[in-house]
């Protein structure tokens, strides 16, 4: 099962590149939510239940809400 962690992190590499190059910031927030899910599965394989509980609250619950708040108060589209 340790090999699964490699697969998840390989997907996370692709996703991090997409987050960096995306110009629609709301879409970038959605991507980072999925990125959080992949990191969470990696933590499952690495056997860290405490960190999972902290990370799921921060990443899925609070951080997405915070970033949508910030996007709603600044601009949505990034001009490259």
């Amino acid at each position: 099962m340790f090999e699964l962690a490699a697969v998840f992190l390989l997907c996370a590499v692709a996703l991090s590149y997409l987050i960096v190059t995306e110009t629609d910031l709301l879409k970038a927030v959605a991507y980072s939510g999925v990125f959080g899910g992949l990191i969470l599965l990696t933590l499952y394989v690495l056997m860290a239940p405490d960190v999972i509980l902290a990370y799921v609250a921060i990443s899925v619950g609070l951080s997405t809400g915070l970033m949508v708040f910030v996007v709603s108060k600044t601009t949505r589209h990034e001009v490259v």
């Binding site: 959605a30 969470l40 499952y44 899925v60």
Partner: protein
């Protein structure tokens, strides 16, 4: 028997996860992307519960509950932002 079945299930759920993932990237509008992100996060919860059965360890299961519980939080936030412009009102 269960271990083999879990490997096969990982493959199938992973394949559908990848298909959702492609829609997440392609999605012509923002709502398509958020819908796909929702489906992927539920997939993640299911795979997490399957992992906790594979390792026969009940401590790993609790995280999946919170993933299911808060899967709709991004939908509601983004919908409120798209319709009202402000989130706090």
């Amino acid at each position: 028997m269960i271990e083999t079945a879990i490997y096969v299930l990982f493959a199938i759920y992973g394949l559908s996860g990848v298909l959702y993932f492609i829609r997440l990237i392609k999605g012509p509008t923002i709502v398509d992307s958020i819908l796909a992100a929702d489906c992927v996060s539920l997939d993640v919860a299911l795979i997490a519960l399957l992992l906790s059965i594979y390792y026969k360890n009940s401590f790993l299961a609790v995280g999946a509950l919170f993933l299911v519980l808060w899967a709709f939080i991004l939908d509601v936030f983004a919908a409120k932002y798209l319709t009202r412009g402000e989130v706090g009102t």
